[in-house]
Structures are given as C-alpha cells and as structure tokens.
C-alpha cells in the first residue's frame, strides 16, 4: 500500500513521541494511581501501530529493528523471575518486597519489585500486540 500523506506523516513525527511518553507515564503511574504495565503496553503498541499506518512495515523495521518475539520472551522471563525472587528468601511465590531509597534528583523514592513484574507485563503486551499486528499487516 503506497500512501503519501504529508499531513499524517508530519503529525505522526510529533504525536508518536507524545503517545510514547504518555504511555511511559501511565506505566510508571500504575503503582499508586490508575495505569500499569498492561495499559502502558497497549498505548506504546498503539503508537507503534500509528507508525506502521503512516510508513510501511519495512521502514518501521529499519527504524526500530526490534524482534518482538524476543521482546515477549524477555518480558515473560522478567515477570517469572520477579515472581520467583521470594522463593529464595523462603517466602511464598509472588511475594513482593519494597523499601524507600534516597535517589539523587528524585529524592525519597519507593522502589517495589512489583515494578519489575510490571515491566515484564509491559514488554509482553507490546511484543504480543505487535506480533499480531505484523502477522496480519505483513502481507500484501
């Protein structure tokens, strides 16, 4: 499908980054407010789909040479790994740990292992969505 839409291309160059940053915001907000890995992942995927719509798959693959299958596998491994941490401390599976840390620039921040699990979910959602979109949109 050849399409030369100047308006779409110009807007997407800006809006892709806005959507992507917003998805990161939603992802990080998920800890105390609505949001999280699933929603964030879907938003990122939708930004990527917007790119796919504007340019063709080959261009996007050149821009972002990501193997989405690998991304899904890494995400699953991250999620499973985080859930298994507690096994080594003798706690039940899926027990999460958190503590407050002094981090330069950010000040007193709460770090939670649930965040790691959520980033696994994020990667899986982006990976799976993109695999599905590509497998339908891939052929002409």
């Amino acid at each position: 499908m050849k399409m030369n839409n100047v308006i779409l291309k110009t807007t997407v160059q800006v809006s892709f980054f806005i959507i992507f940053l917003f998805s990161i915001h939603i992802f990080l907000a998920g800890h105390f407010a609505p949001g999280g890995g699933f929603v964030g992942g879907l938003l990122t995927a939708s930004a990527l789909v917007l790119l796919l719509l504007t340019y063709d798959i080959k261009t996007v693959q050149k821009l972002l040479p990501i193997n989405y299958m690998m991304m899904t596998a890494v995400g699953l491994a991250l999620a499973l790994g985080t859930a298994s941490i507690s096994v080594f401390f003798g706690d039940a599976f899926f027990k999460h740990y958190f503590s407050h840390f002094e981090i330069p620039l950010l000040g007193n921040t709460e770090l939670h292992t649930a965040m790691l699990f959520d980033s696994g979910v994020y990667l899986v959602v982006v990976g799976v969505t993109m695999i599905i979109i590509q497998s339908i949109g891939g052929d002409e």
């Binding site: 699933f38 799976v128 599905i132 497998s135 339908i136």
Partner: protein
C-alpha cells in the same frame, strides 16, 4: 441500578447470540467480544454496585467498592483481548487459504480417509 444493568447485560447477550449464529466469521468474532463484555459487566454487577470510593486505602473512606470483581474483570479483559486477537488472525489466515468467510462453506465432515 441493578435492574438497568440487568437489561444492559441481557441486551449484550442477545446481540452476541444473534451475531454468533450468523454466517460471516467477522460477525461471529464481534459476537464473541460482545459476549465477553456482557460477562464482564455481569461480574461487576454481581460484585455489588454499592461502593462509592475506589478500593484504595485512604483516610476517612468507609464505603469502598469491592476490589475483587474489578481484578477479575481486568484479568478477563486481558484474556478476551488475547483470544479475540488470535481469533482475528486465524480468521484472516483461513480467509486467505480457503477463500471464504462463510461458515456454511467451511463445514467439515468426518471421512474415512
């Protein structure tokens, strides 16, 4: 409120059944997603609609919503998202291979061979 929800859920189920019984695969897939929407609304209703505040521990809030149905719905939505996506891919592949989206034409019969 429960009565309104009952009607909404019933309507969704009705539409879903109608669509699932039609012949085009695409309509069937839309029907299954409507069916799962109805089921999710049913969970919400069955969990009780009386809570007013979000289920987050905060000072001075006593009338909280039941968090469990929301967690169930989120899980069910994720699952139905995955299944619907897979179903769409499969329907597309089948359309390419078989050249039809009519369920009548992909009817199978057990054969001896």
């Amino acid at each position: 409120m429960e009565v309104v929800m009952a009607f909404v859920i019933g309507f969704l189920f009705m539409a879903a059944v109608y669509l699932i019984l039609s012949k085009s695969i695409l309509r069937i897939i839309i029907g299954t997603s409507l069916l799962s929407h109805g089921a999710h609304l049913l969970i919400l209703t069955m969990g009780g609609l009386d809570g007013e505040a979000p289920p987050v521990l905060a000072d001075g809030v006593t009338n909280m919503a039941d968090p469990l149905p929301q967690a169930l719905i989120l899980t069910a939505i994720v699952i139905s998202f995955g299944v619907t996506a897979f179903f769409l891919v499969l329907a597309y592949r089948a359309y390419q291979e078989l050249g039809t989206d009519n369920m009548d034409e992909i009817r199978g019969k057990l054969s001896d061979d």
